[in-house]
């Protein structure tokens, strides 16, 4: 009897002991995980600040790029050469309500490829940072903001950049491709580039949403035009008013198409240019300066900009342009090296081609425009023993 009783007590004690310690441990674990969460949140914010410090130098409300993105295993010496020689200041038209929903995503995607980026708003924000232009917000303020933004860029950064790009906070820009276009020109030319529209002007004007870029000389003439009252705030239709001023001060409207006559600046998202059939009554048909192509020919391989891009779209375009690729794919269109850079360097395509030749034993058929490539098997070329991999 007694043995049974003590055995029972033992089991009872066992259960009580297990239960008590279980409750105790859960409580402790719960408290620790809450603390960990709190630290984690702080950690992410700190990480963001640290990363920002590594990416940009914040000075005078502008972000000076310290370390534009590179991929492991990529040969970007041509892109780096152009980065140093074709300096671009990007200014982004935004407003206080759009900082977290739009401008932020521009900041962490394409603007990282600019030499300098300035976010223009109606209100100063030293943290983001944004420049306060002293205007109100709204569509009727667009040309005022543009005028003041360009004046700000000229007054503060005229000697720190060669070209000055205007973009909206829903424009995505592939800055490396912009450099390819501009590399065939100099900042002393009075010229500007964008998606050329034809109405209301003699030489056409550039679409505001697709973004446009002024040479340093063009910017100088713009500012002087306002000083001499040759240009004034004529209307709130920013891109047209801009184009009319450019015409008055003798700045040329450039042709931004690639060597296969395909457009590079785009007023809509890729999906629309590639797949949509715009109705013939749509304004787009009568506005475009050059003939419109629908389908794949709409857009250059080295496209520069797209418009009406939302937050997800920014990261998606960054992924498509800079990350996702087909291994070993030999592109149909080979953009020719800008003239000024052909003599300087051994053509980077040569060394790339030689490497590929070695690896796959294919015959080189010359860099150039649209190649008529054979998709089938190619004769194996003899190896050149003197060839050293670059």
């Amino acid at each position: 009897m007694k043995a049974l009783g003590s055995r029972f007590s033992f089991y009872a004690g066992f259960v009580v002991g297990t239960f008590t310690l279980y409750v105790f441990l859960r409580q402790v674990w719960f408290e620790r995980s809450e603390q960990a969460e709190g630290y984690a949140k702080l950690g992410v914010q700190q990480q963001q600040l640290d990363e920002d410090q590594g990416i940009w130098k914040k000075e005078r409300s502008a972000l000076f790029n310290l370390d534009h993105p590179h991929h492991t295993g990529e040969d970007s010496h041509m892109a780096d050469e152009l980065y140093n020689k074709v300096r671009i200041l990007c200014w982004v038209m935004t407003g206080p309500k759009n900082l977290e929903t739009k401008a932020r995503h521009v900041k962490y995607t394409w603007s990282r490829h600019c030499n300098i980026v300035v976010f223009m708003s109606s209100v100063d924000d030293p943290d983001f940072p944004t420049v306060g232009l002293g205007t109100k917000e709204g569509r009727d303020q667009l040309y005022w903001k543009t005028i003041r933004a360009f004046h700000y860029a000229y007054e503060h950064h005229a000697n720190e950049a060669d070209w000055f790009l205007k973009a909206d906070d829903d424009t995505y820009v592939i800055v490396d491709n912009l450099r390819w276009i501009l590399a065939n020109h100099t900042p002393d030319e009075p010229i500007y580039f964008g998606r050329r529209f034809k109405p209301y002007t003699k030489q056409g004007y550039m679409s505001g949403g697709a973004g446009y870029v002024l040479s340093r000389e063009a910017l100088k003439r713009f500012v002087e035009g306002f000083k001499n009252k040759v240009c004034t705030h004529t209307s709130s239709v920013e891109d047209l008013a801009m184009g009319q001023c450019m015409e008055k001060v003798g700045v040329l409207a450039g042709d931004s198409r690639d060597t296969a006559q395909r457009e590079t600046f785009h007023p809509f998202v890729p999906e629309q240019h590639l797949t949509a059939k715009f109705p013939k009554s749509f304004w787009y048909w009568s506005y475009c300066y050059y003939p419109i192509s629908e389908g794949p020919n709409c857009c250059s391989d080295v496209s520069v900009s797209f418009h009406y891009v939302d937050a997800t779209g920014m990261y998606l375009l960054e992924y498509y342009a800079y990350h996702l690729r087909a291994f070993g794919y030999r592109y149909r269109y080979q953009p020719p090296t800008p003239k000024a850079y052909r003599a300087e360097l051994p053509n980077p395509w040569d060394s790339a081609e030689r490497l590929k030749e070695r690896a796959s034993g294919m015959k080189e058929s010359g860099a150039g425009d649209d190649s008529a490539q054979e998709a089938g098997p190619v004769p194996v070329a003899a190896k050149d023993p003197a060839e050293a991999p670059v």
Binding site: G13, V15, L82, Y108, P296, P348
Partner: protein
């Protein structure tokens, strides 16, 4: 009385110790689980070769591999998915060395091999048997549905150094209970040896019945895994050199949106591999955009000196 109290105390102490031991053990296994990014812990995975590994190969070996690397695309279509069928035809399937569309019933609009079979599993069996019998020199097989977008060059990169005379069954490997299988909607890669074993086991009605067991019907991709398992072939997860999955069962924009929430300071790098093989569920228009994004759009001045070259297909204008 005293002995009972003593027993009780002994019991309590032992109970406490027991609980401690259990929780310590428990904290080890969940920890290891969570370290493998919270998903199913994949016991089998196949990684793409690193650049160093590739550079060690001789030029003649690379040439050999390049010649061997041909892919036969097996696309399972139905007339009700005509738009996707037409889009697949106009986009990614142009990069397959050989492509066949296998349909459940004939369509007046597009040509395909009509298997005249409504049952998914039976149809898949017929298609795979046909592919095996018509393979010629091709040693790699890729099975997909038309609303999956595949980058065949990246598939070739994944299997570049793998021997097709060995059994390989790759894709997005997931676990359902005890069964590890490759999801069909993100594409299935089979080596010649795996397909050969599969076609042989098709003849065994016990191990690999054609109509499945009436009581509980497994999906066709699970059936495939069961049959392959009998031949000693196991599902493996296809990954890049960093261990990132290459086969995605979601659309690229939903993956980007998820990454925006989970890695707000590193969205693109935290999302998807640069050499991803598949995305699933894209609309026809989104597939045209992906063609542009993969085969055309790029930043000037950035070159990857890949050790193999794949040329664009003839008679195509969207790549």
């Amino acid at each position: 009385m005293l002995s009972e109290g003593g027993s009780f105390m002994k019991g309590m102490v032992l109970g406490g110790l027991f609980c401690l031991v259990l929780s310590l053990l428990g904290s080890f296994s969940p920890a290891t689980e969570s370290r493998t990014d919270g998903n199913d812990h994949h016991h089998h995975h196949v990684k793409a070769a690193s650049k160093d590994e590739l550079q060690q190969l001789s030029d003649s070996r690379l040439q050999e591999l390049n010649d061997q690397l041909q892919v036969y695309c097996v696309v399972m279509v139905q007339p009700k998915s005509l738009v996707y069928w037409a889009t697949a035809l106009d986009t990614w399937t142009k990069h397959c060395d050989k492509v066949e569309f296998y349909t459940s019933e004939a369509s007046k609009a597009l040509e395909a091999i009509d298997l005249n079979e409504k049952d998914d599993w039976a149809r898949l069996r017929k298609a795979l048997k046909h592919a095996y019998e018509n393979a010629g020199d091709i040693r790699w097989f890729f099975v997909a549905q038309p609303n999956t977008f595949a980058i065949i060059e990246n598939l070739k990169y994944l299997v570049l150094t793998k021997d097709p005379e060995q059994p390989f069954y790759l894709g997005k490997a997931v676990k359902s209970g005890e069964l590890e299988y490759v999801e069909l909607n993100s594409g299935i890669v089979l080596s010649y040896e795996a397909l050969k074993r599969l076609v042989n086991v098709f003849q065994d009605e016990d191990k690999c019945p054609e109509r499945g067991r009436q009581l509980w019907k497994l999906s066709d991709d699970k059936q495939l895994a069961v049959c392959l398992k009998f031949t000693g072939v196991f599902a493996e997860n296809g990954e890049d050199v960093h261990g990132k999955g290459l086969f995605n069962s979601k659309t690229v924009d939903s993956l980007i949106s998820e990454s925006m929430k989970q890695n707000p300071s590193n969205v693109v790098e935290g999302c998807c591999s640069d050499l991803a093989v598949t995305f699933s569920g894209l609309s026809a228009n989104q597939m045209q955009v992906m063609m542009f994004g993969v085969y055309r759009l790029r930043p000037y001045g950035h070159n990857f000196h890949d050790l193999l070259t794949f040329f664009p297909p003839k008679g195509s204008d969207n790549d």
